[in-house]
């Protein structure tokens, strides 16, 4: 890209240092729309910090990743978010933490990939689906949270505590292990001491672990995390 244009964007952003990254990104994006420059070619670098890690095709990346599992036409609805706020007003975690589902959708749209993926609040969503139920545009917001978390994990953001749950899964094929106490209770109830799951079938456990290796889950868990 020519130098003059790059300078113009960085200076426009620099003037607005007091703003949050998301607000800066808004202004820059409006500039981009007016100038009709392909978004992905823009290099956002200022003398001081400007918009860090902005990636204007992040929304496309989310929709692509989501469409591998979910219906593409549902996921494309992400493009129709009007920031009406019905989601955030319905969110129970939003009452108790600084997690804001509306801001996530806004930042995702604006391409603030690093902000979104490294935000600890992303993990405050209990996936209760209330926002998804109520979104007037039918945006599958909760599923999008799960997809963005997938991308965050692949970018190396996984809590230690979550890694431990994964290790349980990679060891026992269950998210929770049994214990002597539980085995005794089961026996007293007249149930099989070990439930009829992979816990009583080592060869089937091997099968599950093989799948976890085959899908790349094992490597992903071992390679990610802070």
């Amino acid at each position: 890209m020519e130098r003059s244009k790059r300078t113009r964007f960085s200076s426009a952003v620099r003037k607005l240092e007091c703003l949050r990254p998301v607000e800066k990104a808004y202004i820059v994006q409006e500039d981009l729309l007016r100038s009709k420059i392909p978004a992905r070619d823009i290099e956002l670098t200022g003398k001081n910090e400007t918009v860090t890690g902005a990636k204007f095709d992040f929304r496309d990346e989310i929709i692509e990743a989501a469409s591998k599992i979910f219906r593409r036409d549902h996921m494309e609805r992400l493009r129709t978010c009007l920031q009406c706020g019905k989601c955030v007003g319905s969110c129970p975690s939003g009452r108790m933490t600084s997690w804001r589902i509306r801001r996530l959708l806004q930042e995702a749209t604006l391409g603030l990939r690093d902000n979104v993926c490294s935000d600890e609040n992303l993990w405050d969503c209990t996936t209760c689906y209330t926002c998804q139920e109520r979104c007037p545009h039918g945006i599958p917001t909760t599923d999008i949270v799960r997809v963005i978390r997938n991308l965050a994990v692949r970018s190396g953001h996984m809590k230690e505590k979550h890694k431990k749950v994964c290790q349980m899964f990679l060891t026992y094929g269950h998210a929770i292990a049994t214990s002597d106490e539980i085995r005794n209770i089961r026996k007293r109830y007249g149930l099989r001491e070990l439930p009829p799951t992979v816990l009583s079938h080592p060869e089937q456990l091997k099968e599950v672990l093989y799948i976890l290796e085959k899908t790349g889950f094992k490597i992903m868990v071992e390679g990610s995390g802070k």
Binding site: K68, I69, F70, R71, P92, S93, M96, T97, W123, D124, C125, T126, T127, C128, Y129, T130, Q132, E133, T142, V145, R146, R149, N150, V153, M158, K161, H162, K164, V165, C166, F169, G173, H174, A175, I176, A177, T178, S179, I182, I185, R186, Y189, L191, P195, P196, T197, V198, H201, Q204, E207, V208, Y210, I211, L212, K214, T215, G216, F217, M220, V221
Partner: protein, 304 residues
Amino acid sequence: MNRYSYFLGCITPNRYPGIELATRKVLGTFDIEILDVEGASCCPAPGVFGSFDLMTWLVVAARNICIAEEMNSDIMVTCNGCYATLHEANYLLKQDDKLRDDVNIILKTVNREYKGIVKVKHVIEVLSEDIGYERIKQKLSRPLSGVKVAVHYGCHFLKPSEMRRHGSSERPTIIDDFVRALGAQSVSYKDKLTCCGAGGGVRAGSSDLALNYTRSKIENIVHEGADCVVTPCAFCHFQFDAGQVELSETQGKQFKLPVVYLTQLLGLALGMSSEDVGLDGNKTQVQSLLEKLRVQQIAHAVKK
């Protein structure tokens, strides 16, 4: 005679075997045959493993469904998390041929194939559709009259409603109707449809936040004078029951709210003892509820 593959998941067999016990006993009295899903694993948890890698989540879920397919019987679950995963995986794989092929390529390496020939049902659906509340009413030997029950629906049984198709997720009635069929009163309380706090990896990742949800729910339930909370989900059950111990340890909040699973409540109404339905495995006391049942029963006998 109806038969189901009982998919246990993780929490039911490894933390609350009482739920498993009650479910097997209660369904047995209504001639529902229960088969074991030998070699099943974690479902895997929708908001935990689904948040880490959706493809892995889907393939392991499909493998679990495959086992039931090989047994040629529909799946029944007692956990909303298992329900969410298996129901959603079944739904996604039935509607998308390309996705099914992708999943089957991996399953082929372990000599399995997802076919899409079984249904996934929650135990409340078995109770309401296969057995029917009218038939349940006729069999009650100890109706729970005078007992005030707070119904907790949990999230993933109802939502996303587009997929679950249990009617409105804002005004559900299926469990309230069940509680009333048992002769008890279903009390309304503030934020009745709010999450227990455990889902989405929050219990594992930020237990304080999960407990704040739970505290708020329990306070609202206690405020209405309920004798117990009834849950349709082993994970919510865990969060309410173990959560009360954790709330006392971390926040100094003392609650004594009995936590009862759907089939445990039904077992009590069928005249079973609290040991018969595995309520002795709870961490929080259930004596206050049992005492109330006893008093109501005596009052009932005197009236007669």
